[in-house]
């Protein structure tokens, strides 16, 4: 009853594939826009935890800082946006 029609998904030639899982999307988003890397005072660049990076991203976007990949955060990550990183590198 409540199951939608089963669609067949095809790979369209020339399409830049965006069929990422939520986790893949989040990881690439946090990386691309600078939330995963922090530059220490020593000049050493280190990776922060995904949870910390999510909190930074949520703060920047004015979302509730849960540190989790919730619905609002995922929705924000899917919005059209500027390609300039939010955290300078």
């Amino acid at each position: 009853w409540s199951v939608p029609l089963k669609s067949v998904f095809v790979t369209f030639p020339g399409d830049i594939l965006k069929n990422k899982t939520d986790t893949e999307l989040a990881e690439s988003y946090l990386q691309r826009f600078g939330y995963m890397n922090t530059l220490q005072r020593s000049g050493f660049q280190s990776m922060v935890s995904t949870s910390k990076a999510l909190k930074r991203m949520q703060r920047q976007m004015g979302l509730e800082e849960t540190g989790e990949l919730d619905k609002a955060t995922l929705e924000a990550m899917r919005q059209p946006r500027c390609g300039v990183p939010d955290v300078a590198n």
Partner: protein, 558 residues
Amino acid sequence: YKTFDGDLKWDHQDITYRIVNYSPDMDSSLIDDAFARAFKVWSDVTPLTFTRLFDGTADIMISFGRADHGDPYPFDGKDGLLAHAYPPGEGVQGDAHFDEDEYWTLGKGTVVKTRYGNANGAECHFPFIFEGKSYSTCTTEGRTDNLPWCATTADYSRDKQYGFCPSELLYTFGGNANGAECVFPFIFQGEEYESCTTEGRSDGYRWCATTANFDKDLTYGFCPSRDTAVIGGNSEGEPCHFPFVFLGKEYSSCTSEGRGDGKLWCATTDDYDEDKKWGFCPDQGYSLFLVAAHEFGHALGLDHSNIREALMYPMYSYVEDFSLHEDDVEGIQYLYGNNRTRSHSPTTDPTDEPEPTDPTTPVVPVDPTKDACKQDKFDTITVIDGQLHFFKDGLYWKKSSSSEAELKGPFVISEKWSALPAVIDSSFQDLLTNKLYFFSGTRFWVYTGKNVLGPRSIEKLGLPSSVQKVEGALQRGKGKVLLFSGENFWRLDVKAQKIDRGYPRYTDAVFGGVPNDAHDVFHFKGHIYFCRDRFYWRMNSRRQVDRVGYVKYDLLGC
């Protein structure tokens, strides 16, 4: 606001810019104008001036490109990343790049500026009437030379105002042929071409020769996109081909079948399965003016703001009447100081329409130019007396159930139902009594002919006080109506005026595959429609989503 590390800024105030290339999505004059207005946003509040150069190196070099476009930061196809820009400095610093895989408009759909004809380059008026038929795109009807044209007023037969639409048969842009039209067929590397091609290029731009033999004359230009052209895919600039076959099934309109992202696409030949040629169907597009104003902020030294309403917030959202946010003003004036001699006047999009006249005053006539096709979304959509009704901000339009029927309106809500407020969240007509129920916020009204009861609180029906508005109403047989709000729905016994026991229930538990935050839900011609923004999800009687489409095209018939 934020500036880049080290407060990067220009060391001079007379900034130069150069438009290196153009997008085929819009007439070059509209692109020039969008960039000029985007610079004016910043020059209005600072001592900066912006001068356009036509060759050489400018401080800010502006270009369109897709995917890998010559810097280390490739674009990502349609949607997602729209553009980027570099902070002030030498070389690539200060430059702004726009993703060609986006559909660049003024934010409200296809903008078709005409050339020649007798309308002095006015924009097409869609829809327009020609010989009794309504047209929502440019047409070649009535001509033998295959040149697409449009009327620039609503009725060509009455006003006789027209112009020609973008076509490679009329002109090209860029290249080295001074805008001359394409010559077909033309020879390129010994091969004969009957239409524009991307052969010989790696950037995906369509081009043609402007003489019969490119190999000999070497003159060429880029082809402007027609208003019906697809975006991206592997057929950029080609029109949809209807009907087309996909996985053995025939389609006569754009579809989201085959895609996981819900985007509408079409084939550009009659058989996708065989030719694999496709592209996305034109949508509202992104406002080049708004995106450019944001990117130029970077080019002047501003980083992303975390204030959602600020221009320098990283996400795109369309705003009708743009004015620079205080945060942006403070940021740019921190870098360059203010300009006391210039006023900080809001900049508006040239496509802006006047606000509707006060709909609560019956004596004020409705602005006839208020076009349902230009509404992004409606407050509510419902069926009254068999006709679809579209409500928005004190106005409504109606359309009979025939797909060929003409859209009528706008009408003023308060002239027909004087007790109602301007914003109607939801409405339904009781099938047994023909009474009309209207919901707005936490109140509702019941109309029997011209008699009205209400407003009454929706709590009287048994809805909890946490419900702030009813967003959809769905007839379930006679005497029962489902009321939707948030992710839940309740069943109302209309006769008893009470919510049935066992509710609320989760929308997605019963109606799978539709957005659970739909803002309009209604029943029409045997299907249930769930609308979110400008899209609808159509569900058949077996509760299967059998179509996702645009309200504008499929329901309004724009």
